[in-house]
């Protein structure tokens, strides 16, 4: 069991159970509504509420923005339920510049790629989409490099 302890110093149960719950959530969405939901499209689709720039007002975004907003609201509610039942309050200590700079690049890149960890990761892999598999391998690799570099440069 030494290898398991080395690879997963915090144990595996909460990772596995959390992942299963996420899988059930995406499955429930599909069985009941037929919708396939990654999270990153939420950002572009909801910009159509406040911007009349043509890109944000394409049909795929305008027709999906209401349910994507409901999906995101659900995400907030679910996290709040966790906080008031099993969870405990936690404030990240990652530096503000990392949160801001990283977030901006995440938003730009995920929308350019048309998918993120949930869109390409969960939904794309489950749909056996080769471009999504390649996207996942590429973003895992670039994220490992940048996370390691950030630490070397003195980041959190």
């Amino acid at each position: 069991m030494l290898l398991i302890d080395t690879l997963f110093p915090l144990g595996i149960t909460h990772y596995l159970v959390g992942g299963l719950l996420i899988g059930f959530a995406v499955s429930f969405l599909f069985v009941v509504t037929g919708l396939v939901g990654g999270m990153s499209t939420f950002f572009t689709a909801t910009l159509s509420y406040v911007s009349d720039w043509s890109y944000f007002n394409q049909e795929e975004f305008v027709t999906s923005r209401n349910w994507r907003l409901a999906y995101a609201a659900g995400l907030v509610i679910g996290a709040a339920v966790w906080l008031f039942t099993l969870g405990e309050s936690f404030q990240t200590s990652v530096s503000w510049w990392q949160l801001a700079l990283g977030g901006f690049i995440v938003g730009f890149g995920a929308r350019l790629s048309n998918g993120c960890t949930s869109g390409h990761g969960i939904c794309g892999l489950a749909s056996l989409q080769l471009p999504s598999l390649l996207a996942v391998l590429i973003f895992l690799a670039s994220a490992m490099i940048s996370a390691t570099l950030v630490k070397l440069l003195g980041g959190t």
């Binding site: 596995l16 992942g19 059930f24 690049i105």
Partner: protein, 141 residues
């Protein structure tokens, strides 16, 4: 979309948010420890979620003609092009800097992980710039 469908979407989102929080993926420190090869737990989260979803996407359309409340099963389609792969590389760079991807940035609000609100705003800004850069003219189409 009918109200019952929207309520179902809300419930699915809530289950997603609960699972994401339970898995500790809303803590950037945990994600960064994965990306720095210190704790490989994220692979269980991604693997379990993808496997359950894989079974659903492959089996359900064969046994059900249509979803319970709507008329068609959507499909996830991704294109093999420069945007998909280049965008993924860029996304990863950002993810490695902050340890936050879009889902946890949203769920972070519910879990009162307030610093993540900055990431949420920054993701909106990045998505906005991407739409402006890629979007051609500002005239309505």
């Amino acid at each position: 979309m009918k109200t019952s469908s929207l309520a179902s979407v809300l419930f699915a989102g809530a289950l997603f948010g609960f699972g994401l929080s339970y898995s500790s993926m809303i803590k950037p420190e945990v994600v960064l420890s994965f990306l720095r090869f210190e704790d490989f737990g994220l692979l269980w989260v991604l693997g379990a979620a993808s496997f359950v979803t894989f079974l659903t996407y492959q089996l359900i359309p064969r046994v059900m003609g249509r979803p319970l409340l709507e008329s068609v099963f959507s499909e996830h389609t991704s294109k093999m092009n420069r945007e998909t792969l280049g965008g993924a590389a860029i996304f990863g760079i950002g993810w490695g800097i902050c340890g936050v991807c879009p889902g946890p940035a949203i769920a972070g609000l519910g879990a009162a992980n307030w610093p993540l609100a900055m990431t949420l705003a920054a993701i909106f800004a990045g998505a906005y710039v991407q739409g402006r850069v890629m979007g051609g003219s500002g005239e309505g189409q």
